[in-house]
């Protein structure tokens, strides 16, 4: 049985706004769990305020935001802003879904560390998170 004293990466997967596509979060949630991470899923129709409150209560290391509509430009920077305001700016914020390059650049400027668009391999996401974790 895995030891209780092992540090595990805690990840929050959140869907903001009205987009209800869940295939991406379903596949990624299982891949991260299979990689030994603890994945908290907060469901659909989340607001940035709900996501940030959840991220802080759950003491997650990583906040993964998913959007297959264009709401990412309204909501994602707001999540980063709120995290910083509430002293949680050291959490890694990632975005996934259908995000054009020009939007990705703006999101990175706003503090989203990395964008994984559709077609991104779960292996790559796991590797990225492990590298980030090791370098802290």
């Amino acid at each position: 049985m895995p030891a209780g004293g092992e540090r595990r990466i805690r990840v929050l997967l959140a869907k903001l706004g009205l987009d209800s596509h869940t295939i991406g979060v379903t596949v990624i949630a299982r891949a991260l769990r299979d990689a030994g991470m603890e994945v908290i899923y907060s469901g659909l129709k989340q607001t940035p305020e709900m996501v940030v409150a959840t991220a802080i209560q759950e003491d997650v290391d990583v906040v993964g935001l998913s959007s297959l509509s264009a709401a990412h430009m309204t909501h994602f920077p707001r999540v980063v802003e709120l995290l910083r305001e509430q002293g949680a700016g050291d959490k890694l914020v990632l975005a996934g879904g259908v995000i054009p390059d020009e939007d990705a650049a703006v999101l990175r400027q706003a503090g989203v560390s990395r964008i994984f668009t559709m077609g991104a391999r779960t292996d790559d996401i796991v590797a990225y998170l492990r590298e980030w974790w090791a370098s802290r």
């Binding site: 049985m1 895995p2 030891a3 209780g4 004293g5 092992e6 540090r7 595990r8 805690r10 949630a29 299982r30 991260l32 769990r33 299979d34 990689a35 030994g36 991470m37 603890e38 994945v39 908290i40 899923y41 907060s42 469901g43 989340q46 305020e49 709900m50 409150a53 959840t54 802080i56 209560q57 759950e58 003491d59 509430q86 002293g87 949680a88």
Partner: protein, 316 residues
């Protein structure tokens, strides 16, 4: 807040610090132990309620509806929702709070999802510790939610002051609950999804079972709820308060608290002794010699254990 200890910040109500502390405790970090040491004397006020039952009973929805009712009554609520870790990878998918998210931004509510992390009982070792943190922080009620299958329900009995068992009507589900031994540990029994066909029948069946159960000073109520419509939760809040009052009046609370104090103490001692033995087996010639005899079948394992304990100066 700079310079203040983690425990001080938790006592001042700082959510991020409480969340961080629970994490440290889960990860068995020494900083966590130190803070727990400071906080433990401040705990003991909260009403600790275990919520268990078979999968599909609607526990998370019920917890969410209960939070709504408790908040109306001006109570501050902490929730610890436990789900199993994957035995293969050690990771976990924690989705109980999906149904509670309407309360996410309420400062009077703290929801923490917890993985069992291989704990054999299915209830995380750190659930008790998280309970101490939230208790010290001033939450009036702590709701601890686990799945009631296998050993899980025994753990909840030892952790909670009041145990609520949630089941639902349907082809023999109430029988399922009985088979799993859940009925015996329930202080309150909730028949959720009471709008489903078979509810009347399930209710009669369960009431009959309760009547035939062991007699005690507490008449175990059966409550009907439709958690998805937040129906029946006021009665549940009252029943919880009534049970707490009963525990205090009858002196049972003192017994429960004694049991609740014993459990982590004993568990810790067992853990340390076991750790010690593991270390011995890895490095110590005496323990290894005993084990070798057991492997060769020249000594049975129980006698070997007695001998090791006698050498270590422990109980015979």
């Amino acid at each position: 807040m700079v310079g203040e200890s983690l425990a001080a910040r938790v006592l001042a109500g700082h959510v991020a610090s409480a969340a961080r502390l629970i994490r440290l405790l889960e990860d068995e970090r020494p900083e966590g132990r130190d803070a727990l040491h400071e906080l433990y004397p401040k705990s003991g006020r909260a009403h600790v309620v275990g919520v268990t039952g078979p999968p599909g009973a609607g526990k998370s929805t019920l917890v969410s509806a209960l939070i709504t009712a408790l908040r109306k009554a001006q109570k501050r609520v902490g929730v610890i929702a436990v789900d199993p870790s994957s035995p293969l990878s050690g990771g976990a998918l924690l989705g109980d709070r999906v149904r509670m998210q309407q309360h996410a931004t309420d400062a009077g509510v703290f929801i923490r999802s917890m993985a069992s992390r291989g704990h054999p009982g299915g209830l995380a070792r750190a659930a008790w510790e998280a309970g101490v943190v939230l208790d010290a922080m001033g939450f009036d009620l702590l709701l601890v939610e686990t799945v009631g299958v296998g050993q899980g329900e025994i753990d909840i009995l030892e952790l909670a002051q009041t145990t609520v068992v949630v089941c639902l009507p349907g082809a023999g589900d109430e029988v399922q609950a009985i088979k799993a031994g859940l009925l015996e540990i329930a202080d309150l029994l909730v028949l959720n999804k009471a709008d489903l066909p078979g509810a009347e029948q399930a209710q009669r069946h369960l009431e009959a079972m309760l009547r035939h159960g062991p007699a005690s000073g507490w008449p175990r109520p059966l409550l009907r709820t439709i958690a998805a419509r937040e129906e029946g939760t006021e009665a549940l809040v009252q029943a919880l308060a009534a049970h707490r009052a009963h525990l205090e009046a009858s002196g049972e609370l003192a017994l429960i608290e004694a049991r609740r104090a014993r459990r982590p103490f004993l568990a810790r001692v067992r853990e340390r002794v076991a750790d010690g033995l593991e270390a011995e087996l890895a490095n110590g010639p005496e323990a290894r010699a005993l084990l070798a005899q057991v492997e060769r079948r020249t000594l049975d394992p129980y006698t070997a254990a007695d001998r090791w304990l006698a050498r270590a100066g422990g109980p015979t």
